[in-house]
Structures are given as structure tokens and as C-alpha cells.
Symmetry: C2
Subunit: 329 residues, 2 copies
Amino acid sequence: MSQDTIAPLQVPARSIPVPTTVSPEMQALIGAPRRPGWNTIPTTPEAWHALAEAGRAVAGPNNRAMAERLGVTITPATLDGVRIFHVTPAQVAPGNENRLLIQIHGGCYVLNPGEAGLGEAILIAGLGGFRVIAVDYRMPPEAYYPGALDDAMTVWKSIAARHDPRNCAWIGTSAGGALVLAMGLRAKRDSLPMPGAIASGTPMSDITKTGDTFHTNAMVDTVLVSTDGFCDAAARFYANGHDLADPMLSPVYGDMAGFPPVILTSGTRDLLLSNTVRVHRNLRRLGITADLHVYEGQSHAHYGRDERIPETREAFGEIAAFFGAHLGK
Amino acid sequence: MSQDTIAPLQVPARSIPVPTTVSPEMQALIGAPRRPGWNTIPTTPEAWHALAEAGRAVAGPNNRAMAERLGVTITPATLDGVRIFHVTPAQVAPGNENRLLIQIHGGCYVLNPGEAGLGEAILIAGLGGFRVIAVDYRMPPEAYYPGALDDAMTVWKSIAARHDPRNCAWIGTSAGGALVLAMGLRAKRDSLPMPGAIASGTPMSDITKTGDTFHTNAMVDTVLVSTDGFCDAAARFYANGHDLADPMLSPVYGDMAGFPPVILTSGTRDLLLSNTVRVHRNLRRLGITADLHVYEGQSHAHYGRDERIPETREAFGEIAAFFGAHLGK
């Protein structure tokens, strides 16, 4: 029997309560309605841009407020022509003096421009005491594939020339989680050094709609909701006709031999749980140190929302500890 | 807002294909119909016993055939009055000469008597080259809670008196995955030593029907299917009126401080994925080394079925490597 001949599993409609096994703060997040507009897909470049700007108007101020609460400073700059932010904690934690992180934001390759993309950088700076350079990569319609990856690699090439790469780590979630994996593949291709560690959160590691939790967690994940939503459409908009199975777009299909230690984060309701655990398995089959953390009840990237949520502090504590264990080795 | 006041998530009926992201052998297993009789619950002790015997008639010969293929020898014995099996590989792997594993079988506390319970012992002996003592603990109606735990602890007490505990590991799946965690709690209570490592596969760590994937993976997991099935009923039959939230029955509620390194295994479709990741989080919050492995598309304990399935070899390779890294330390 092959996959084509095995009958699909018929699963009846269900009513799923908010879990009691997470903090009250996370219960409120999990219990929120499905993301408004998850299945409203822009049809023009202008409409995609407008969607990104609408998101920026909410996420930018939220991130600035979070940075203020955490004592994190945000300074815009450019590096070899690429827009970046220096995201700096009030106090660099002991042991992190010579360490530098590069954050690649998520948002389906089209969302979270500017400060809207800084959530994860602020969290790891403020909670982990790391200096961070956040890459505000070009997004469509400004630039299509491989614009985001090119910008990230430009930043890495510049930093790796000035810092010991073993003291650097890459961190990204969702599209950013895929980009930090594609950066590893690209570093191999371009004979650039690897960083000392990579944190890939719920990566869009496969944008060909392949992966079991695309089905099992469809309509269960309240953030991405379904591969029929805007996020997969956004990835195709970014790909701009390029083969979606190219490992530079779907890094789960890439050869990750030679990667440094990787920490992977997901949730039990995450539409991309499969795309996270498939990367974990690929790395482990290669004998690479790879730690998997799956959080109870969380949908896509719920873990990185707000430092006032205990599970966010927990997840970024894990990432900080992982960097502490592996950087400089 | 509290959990009581947040509306449940309404998820429509779905048709879920067999994943293409696993081996053909695993596709066949995932594509099999839901376990026959998953919601047929015996109502008398005699009927529970008959169910266990019916399962034994299938699983016993299957396990003997697997042992033969792997060159593993099975020898029944007793240890301080407890029924055990010595499960011995043809060749003890280099480095494992002084190591000894104790296997506690699964089966919802009522199934898999005798050789029917040896699958995991045979796999780790044959694939990992470890000597194993498998505990054929008493089950209801022969003995109710805490009979299984008492038998397991009798064996541990005897072995720990003769072997360096740091060279020993405990391994169990499902009810066995819960029992190896409860053994850690009991060892603390009784001032017995800890082993060098614990492998807890998809543990029934919470039999109070609490855990998010009891809802999200209901009817998706083809093995346990639902908390309305016979497995939860079997656990209550074993508990025999005892508080189901007692950590000795639901070890997720226990204090695991002082535990040795733990490896946890589950699958994305596993009804007990939450009960696995909740234990992982508890251990990590205590700073304990705890590795999580979640396999694509797998329902409850799919990973431990048959050594001819590549994902079974992969999962037991991970467990063997974990023991290799942590025993004797």
C-alpha cells in the first residue's frame, strides 16, 4: 500500500476547551479567537504592503513598550547597505560580553517590517542579556526571493569578519526560523563560517504544504489556522515563481550536515509542529546536537508574544541557556 | 478571564491523509484503522482478564518472532518473588558490559502480560546491545494499585543492591512510561538510589483526563483514540478507587527534583503528547537534563512496534545513544 491508496482518517467535529495546564496568561492567549483575516488573502502587491503596514501599526508600539519594560534599547542603523537594529540590554549578562546574536524576524516573508519585527530580539536581549543585531530585511514588493536571505547573509558576512563566529548565534521564528536554517545552507554553499548555535522557532521549513500537522492541527492552531490562509499565500508571493521545494525556501529538504547545535521550539497546537520535528529528526539523523521544546497547548509562535507570559520567559530562558551552553565552543 | 469563561474552540470535521513525510512502513501503520475495540470497555474483572489474554495471544508470538529476528534471548525467572524475564542480546555492545536496563511494559496497567509485554525490552536489547530485565508485574484482577509499582520497586531494590545504580537505566512506554517516573518518586520516598537515566515513552503521566492533546488529538490518534476509550477505563480499574491525581498514579503532579537525565518520546498524533511535553517541561524547570523526541505523524507508542520500521530503529537508536551518553556518570 502507498499513501495514495490508504484511506484518509475521518475526524469528526469537536469542541476543544482552553487547557487548564498552562498559565492564566497563556490561557487567555490560547482562548483568543482565530486571528482575524487569517483567510483573507491580498491579491495585489499594494494590498500585501497595506497588510504589512496595518500589522506594523499594532506590533511596532507593542514591541517598543516591551523593550521599555525590559530596559532594552533599540537603535536603527545600516550594515553594508542592509537595514538593521541594534537591540541592546541594559545589562549584558555575565559571560555574554563577547557574544552577539543575529535575529531574523518572522511574518510569512511579508509582515513585520521595522520595529514590528523586533519582538524576539527584545525578548532574548532583555530576558537573556544578549546583544542582538536584528535584520530588517527587504520584503515584497520591495524585493522578492532571495532578497530576505541575501540581506541576512550580507549581515552575517560582515559580522563574521569582525567577530569570532563561534561566539555568534542566529535566532528566528516562523519565516525567520526557516531563514536561519537556509542561512546555514547558504553559508555552506558560499564557504562562510557557521555560527556557534542556531535557534529556530517553529520554522516555515516546508512551504509546499507538506507535513502532517498541516492537517491534524488545521483549524486548531488559532494563529496560522490553515495552509489555505494568508501565510502560505504570502510565502508564494515572496517566492515569486521560484520552486517552493528549493531548500533555500523549504530548508527541510536541505543537507544540514555541518550545522552547529540547534534549538527548536514549537507547541502542541502549532500548524508547523511537523515542520519543526522534521527538522529535528533531520539534524539528529546527522548526529547534530538538536534540542526540541514543545509547549503545551500553544499555537504557532505563541511562545514569543510577551514577556509577561510565564511560558514566554520559560521559552527564552531555554534558548538563552542553550546559547550559554554552546557558544564559544 | 479564566478557563471556565473562555469559549471552547469549534473545530470542523476533517479528512486527514496519511503523511508522505514518513517511511512506507510507517505510512502503513499510520494508515491502519483505529484500534478495534478502543471504545469497548469491559465491565467485570473476568472480562478485563479475557481482554488481556486475547491481546497476549497476538503480541506474544509477535514478540517472540521479533526476538528471533534480532537474535535476542528471552528467559523467564523470578526475582524476590516478582516475575521477570532476562532479555539478552546475542552480543552486548561495547561499553554496555556493566550496564543493565529494567523494562516496565505498557498496556494501560491491564494488558501485555508475560511475553506480550517484552516488545520494548527486545528492541533495546537487540538494537542497542543492552542486557535487560523485564518486569512482568502483577495486573488486575491479580493485583490492583500499587501492585505494579510495588513489583517494579522490588526488582529495583534487588538490582540496585548488586549493581552500581549509575550503570542502570529504566525504560518504559505508556503505563510503563508513567511507572518509570513513579518509580523515581517512590525511590525518593523510600531513600533508594536513582538509576543513571530514565527513558519514558509517551507516559500516562496524567490519568485525570487533563492535557490539551486529549482534546486536539482525540480521534486523530488511532491507538488510544480518546480518553473515552478502554485505556483510561483500564487505569481507573487498576487504581481501584485510589485518587487518580496521586503522583504515584499521575506522576506529572510529582516533584521530580533529583531525577537523573530523562529521554521522552512521543508523536505528533499522540493522544499523550501533552502528557509527554508536560513532563519534559517539569523536568526542564528543575534544571534536569531531559531530551524530547517527537516523531512525525505517529500515534501513541507507534515508535515501538517493530524493528523493521525505520522510525523504530531511529527511536531506539536515540534511546540507546542517550543511555550511552549518561550511564555511569
